[in-house]
Amino acid sequence: MNLDLPLLELAILIPLAGAAIVSRIGNSDQARLWCLGFCGAAFACTVGEWLDFHTLHAEIAHDPGLLARSMGDFLEIDALSAPLLPLTALIYLLTAIATLRTKIRRFSFAGTLLSLALALAVLSCRNPWGIIGLLALRTVAPYLELRARGKPTRVYVLHMALFVVTLAAGWLFVELEGLHRAHSLWAVLPLLIAVLIRTGGFPFHCWVTDLFEHATFGTALLYLTPMMGAYVAVRLVVPIAPEWVLQSIGLISLATAVYSAGMALVQREARRFFSYIYLSHSALVLVGLETLNPIGLTGALCVWLSAALSLAGFGLTLRALEARHGRLSLTNYHGVYEHTPLLAVCFLLTGFACVGFPGTFGFLGTELLVDGAVQTFPHIGVAVVIAAALNGIAVVQAYFKLFTGTRHVSTVPLQIGLRERLAVLSLAALILGGGIFPQLIVPARHHAAERILSQREPPKPAGLHPGETAQFSAKSRPPKPK
């Protein structure tokens, strides 16, 4: 089935064209304005595409644009990707809006638009090689920024190179072995490693903290918050991997979630604290995706949306604080509440939304995720609750460190400006709105979860390496779609 309008194609082409135009603008103020325009247009297109898809009631919809048709079925959306596209565009738009004048010389608006186009292209693509190629391309922009700023690149390069190589190698073996059969370790293991690297699973997580250390906060935020690692897992791993692989990823992610939440408690600098909070939530999403039951998977897809939105807001709040005070130490109190009360409220709101606080977008998702995790991992699924509890403590501890504990004296006004207020209030409205009306999101996510499970067809016996192939148990086999 086709979408009514070529909005998907436009959503990708507009920022792509925007990147070319903005790169030629020398004035940073003008570049920002143009960037805002292109991001806004892309966001409008993605919202339109989501509504269009919703009204079609289709499982998959193709873009009717000329370019899309010439590329075959390269651009298409389904229940999984439909809300992820506007979410990603919104994160980019809000980041561009909330970029302060003091930072616009450092922040690459052309690079942001290019990154947006690539991110939307990844999410619109279901072709495995297309996803792999686009994700590989997406790794380049942060590298170029690190190089341009004279920062160390080795940690990032090593991890991303390993990610691209393992992903490509794994999928190559999958295709060589045939899609509809149980796969050998040669295919499954590289894919498992690739997913763990991209999501920041232990022990492959250090590149995330390193990126936050050295890249601009905005770039790191935009590269990570759309959670492309989870997308790789859903598109490339969940449909073909045997149950033991998914459970292994789930267990590693469970450990990562608790570990990262604990590490967030002992961090002495705000960016590193944020990076561990991100890692913990990224791992929690992966835990849900690997539970292989509709409730856990629905929870993961809900937490994916809520965590991406909340983490973006949380990160933007920290970024706004950094713009005023420089890098923020968590070893002493800053006491800036009286200067920026709205930022303080936003910090708490987005932080609590991340940890699934009642009344926020993340609440129901977390509840479903815990339920699903306990179903699949009866004895250790409770670790999700421990991770959420530790994250909650870390968020409040950071809040107290940054906003309270002393009286900050400043000779210049530090209140947030109109643009930042707009970004903050938009996020607050979405976080609270999603918390009050979760039924607008959750059933659609459940539908997407059932579709993902229905793609896990029982494989034919491989017979290649008996010791290295895994069996699909009856428990994991999804019911036939109605």
Binding site: V266, L364, V385, Q397
Partner: protein, 469 residues
Amino acid sequence: MPFMFHAIALTPLNLLGLTVVAVPVLLVAALGLPFLYGRPLSERWIGRIVQSGMIVGLLASLGVLGLMLAQGTRSVTLDLGHWVSLPHFHFAFKFVFDRLSVPFAILSFVLCGTIGAFANKYLHREPGFARFFMQYALFVMGMIFTSLAGTIESLFFGWELVGVSSAMLVAFFHERTAPVRNGLRVWIVYRISDAALLVAAVVLHHLRGEGDFSALMGIYPWPESHTVLTGNEPLIIGLLLLVAAAGKSALVPFSGWLPRAMEGPTPSSAVFYGALSVHLGAYLLLRVSPLLDASPTLSALVLILGLVSAMFGALASRAQTDVKCALAFASLTQVGLIVAEIGAGLPRYIPLVHILGHACLRTLQFLRASSVLTDFRQLENAIGSRLPPFSSPLGRFVPAALRVPLYRLAVQRGYLDALLFEYIARPVLGLFRLCDSLERRWTDFLSGGQSRESDRALGAASTLDDLSL
């Protein structure tokens, strides 16, 4: 199901019930939205809104009680439908008005209304006036949702709101370090309590497929309900709920946060830690009391925990040097006794009446605490001589050899905080700090030099300081 709300029959009882639930929500919206949009309300308007809300809420809850008594109804369920309904997972939004929840809701409105009026004068021209009432509104909402919850998820919703508003109010005077540290301590204990409650909710979902209390305690109204769980199920769920209750009510070993909570302004100390919040654990145990009836082991544990907490509270309250802390431990003594009454299986109305009476008395004492010295002087002037020093008659029965260790134990508040920090927090944080240093070595190795740019932003102190004594 695309949308959640059921069509509710517009009976007077349902309308009044809806009002009771809606008032705190509207209060939060009325105080919160102007702040978010950069138009904070004046003190006068905040006072008026709070007063109106509390009066309407109280009248509505009294109306519910009156109608239930007039109609002879034992229990009214206000079913707002499923918040989310998926195959094998229902999240119902349901409130129950019965002989337990209605008195508790009335108590909440009476005490919160009193404290609202008191705080309106007490915090006049305080810089955090609006912030106090915002957190107060969240607290009221949490209390009402917890009191009336018909499902464990609705209860969890209210439970968390009470937790966060309480922790923020402990840190109300946030330009000083001590209140902030104490607020964090309270929050940590509350998170443990919340985690236990969430796990209990998940286990209940697992066993029954839904979180309704009716699935847990059958269809009969409180206190005649009987649990439908069998085997070890009541013990497992009951233990989790006991941990949640112990955290919220500051029972042993979580009692350390109670004196720390006194850092907040007196109105919040009075209503939260002296009267309402500290009774929530006992309220939860009363709500799930059929589980205790079904499990003698659980009942025995509740009884022991209550008695130990009561004895500890009685001991510690005698050695405190400030009146708010002494009152806090006196509260703990009574809460311990209430829990012991629940564990001992006394008729359920006894602990309920005990809660209502104790909450009102303690609120009065807390509100008078700031003028206790003036009261003493007035009394001494009236009688024309000094008041005799107070000494407990029980002291005579304590052997001389035990007096100093017991005094030390009381002054140090049972070393509970120190023990929790020494044997739980420090090893856990130490482990993560070790991991952090190993990660530093690993990234230094990979990048071939110093990998942490953030070190430049750091001061000399350590984040561990906040979690230490």
